[in-house]
Amino acid sequence: MIDTLSTHYNYWVFAFLLVVGLYSMMAKNNLMKKLIGMNIFQWAIILYFISIGAKRGAQIPIVAGAHGQGEELAIHAAEYINPLPHVLMLTAIVVGVATTGISLALLIAIYKKYDTIEEDEIIQRLQQ
């Protein structure tokens, strides 16, 4: 497992980030902290996906200076970075922001109602 460190180091970082996020979602008492953990969690997964697409020594996935030229250009797959993970992650980022928006809205609604964003206090107040 350790010997993969040199070739897979970004996956290691991804794993640690994910775990940091997960821990903070599970164990933190403050709802805002939970949300921060959630963001880290999502972003770790995005890091993982982007790592899939990376190719050493390849170009960014934009054909330079090719506007409107069409088919004349011969393009080789190995020369460009795999665009598919990027596409997927664009979607995932936007989804992540939308999640953040909704959860923050809920957070504010909760704060308005219970005057706190600590989980144990909210539960306490709900049981009253």
């Binding site: 979602m25 959860s103 809920l106 909760i110 909210i122």
Partner: protein, 500 residues
């Protein structure tokens, strides 16, 4: 036109969602008719596709954007998801009709257009999850469904916002775990299309990455469908949500999750992966067994009717997993049949809970004393739903249970058989407890009064017809599904089961 149905069924509710928003700015009264139009159209589309699939015996492939898979996104409608689509469409239409009145009571009028928008988006998501043949597309649709679920759940009573917040956390973990699993599949195969993955995966069955990916997929969907240890968010969220919302989400969302698990375990992955190579089905089976017993006991401890039903959902999910765990034709037939049956049963019970709440304003079962005097039809529907869950033939719940038991026997999983039988007894206790209160426990002050006048007239329900009629239709659906379960199995489910 019929070849366009796979796209139409997903897009129609979507477009109508925007129309509802726009119409809501102009005139709020327009929203509800628009919802009805969209959902009726969906029923037509779904029914049409089911008819085509049954008559043609081969799946409908639909290439969105005209790009062939695996490059483009493909919607595949086969026997399995055509059946699920029809059930989802029918239930959502009925629940939408039912929802109108309860919403007037529980949600402020100015929020109705937004509510209906999210309602439609929710259904869009469910249709999409069912219809799609692309792993990533499923993720996006899962998120649509979840987002709308978060928001409409939070509209419920006190504590609903906190329940929704926890649901957001768990739901995000679930969706992200699913996404990560998809990522693992993508990194080792390079494809996202389900049909394209199927032949690619068997070469990689011994890859550790594949196993991890599979685990994440199952955990992710498991959170969304609320299987046993991952169900923690479910009871709160579904209990505190508005009646209409729990009547929509409780039957549909969890069952669609179950569909996705079947799809992944048996279509995307070869059945041998989860059965022979790794003891996934066994693990799921034991989780299901523990979960069923746990959920039954928890349900017994509840006095809140809806919360009790929420635990029943967890138990029903366990039944479906038992079907998967036995991993043979009977078990899968039972599981698929149970998905459909359970949609109707849960829709019935949750609409009943909503209707009782609508009229009496309580969900505490100990306050349901002699409810059948004031709500005869609703009480009768409750009996139908309850007996079906308990597993009394000829109601539909029995038949799926029967195939599940057959499956477990064939797989020689005696423990699971015992759990199923035991749980149906626990369910009987659970529901007869309520039936007793509703029918045979007169309020103490009236006990002698009605003995004298044996012929007191029955007061009819105050629940409006627009609520009662969909509920009655769901009740009739339960009976018909039971009687015609053979037809469904013969013409649909028999083709939906992968060869083992």
């Amino acid at each position: 036109m019929i070849e366009q149905f796979p796209a139409l069924i997903v897009v129609t509710p979507l477009i109508f969602a925007f129309l509802v928003t726009m119409a809501g700015l102009w005139n709020r009264k327009l929203c509800f008719p628009l919802v009805l139009i969209a959902l009726s159209a969906s029923v037509v589309f779904a029914g049409g596709m089911l008819a085509v699939v049954i008559s043609g015996d081969k799946p409908i492939h639909y290439y969105l954007g005209g790009w062939a898979p695996p490059w483009g996104i493909e919607y595949v409608i086969d026997h399995l998801n055509a059946l699920i689509l029809v059930s989802v469409a029918v239930i959502s239409l009925l629940v939408a009709v039912y929802a109108q009145k309860t919403l007037e009571q529980e949600i402020h009028e100015s929020k109705l257009p937004q509510f209906y928008t999210l309602f439609l988006l929710q259904i869009t998501g469910l249709f999409g999850i069912t219809a799609t043949g692309d792993m990533f597309n499923l993720y996006v649709l899962l998120e649509i469904a979840s987002f709308s679920a978060y928001a409409i759940i939070a509209m419920g009573e006190r504590g609903a916002d906190f329940a929704a917040f926890r649901y957001v956390l768990f739901g995000t973990i679930g969706a992200c775990a699913y996404l990560l699993g998809t990522g693992y599949l993508y990194i080792i195969t390079g494809s996202l299309n389900m049909a394209d993955l199927t032949p690619l995966l068997p070469h990689l069955f011994y890859s550790k990455a594949l196993l991890v990916g599979f685990a994440f997929l199952i955990v992710g969907i498991g959170i969304k469908m609320g299987i046993f240890p991952l169900h923690i968010w479910l009871p709160d969220a579904y209990t505190l949500a508005p009646s209409a919302v729990s009547a929509l989400l409780a039957p549909l969302f969890t069952k669609v999750g179950a569909y996705v698990i079947i799809r992944i375990m048996f279509t995307v992955f070869d059945p041998s992966f989860a059965i022979k190579l790794y003891p996934v089905t066994d693990v799921l089976g034991w989780l299901a067994a523990i979960g069923i017993l746990f959920a039954c006991v928890m349900a017994l401890a509840q006095s809140d009717f809806k919360r009790m039903l929420c635990y029943v959902i967890v138990a029903e999910m366990g039944y479906i997993l038992i079907g998967l765990a036995s991993a043979n034709r009977f078990g899968l037939t039972g599981a698929i049949l149970h998905i459909v049956n359970d949609m109707f049963m849960m829709a019935c019970l949750f609409t009943v809970a909503g209707a009782i709440f609508y009229q009496t304003g309580t969900r505490n079962i100990y306050q349901f004393r002699y409810l059948h005097r004031t709500m005869p039809i609703i009480s009768a529907l409750f009996i139908v739903g309850a007996l079906s869950v308990v597993g009394i033939p000829p109601l539909c719940g029995f038949f799926s249970k029967w195939y599940l038991i057959l499956g477990a026997i064939q797989a020689k999983q005696w423990g699971l058989v015992v759990v199923m039988l035991l749980s149906s007894l626990l369910m009987a206790i659970l529901f007869f407890r309520v039936i007793e209160i509703v029918y045979f426990a007169p309020p103490t002050d009236q006990r002698h009064a009605h003995h004298k006048h044996g012929k007191t007239g029955i007061v009819m329900d105050n629940v409006p017809l627009s609520m009662v009629i969909p509920m009655v239709l769901i009740g009739i659906g339960i009976i018909l599904l039971g009687i015609f379960s053979g037809v469904i199995i013969k013409h649909v489910i028999a083709f939906a089961i992968p060869s083992m």
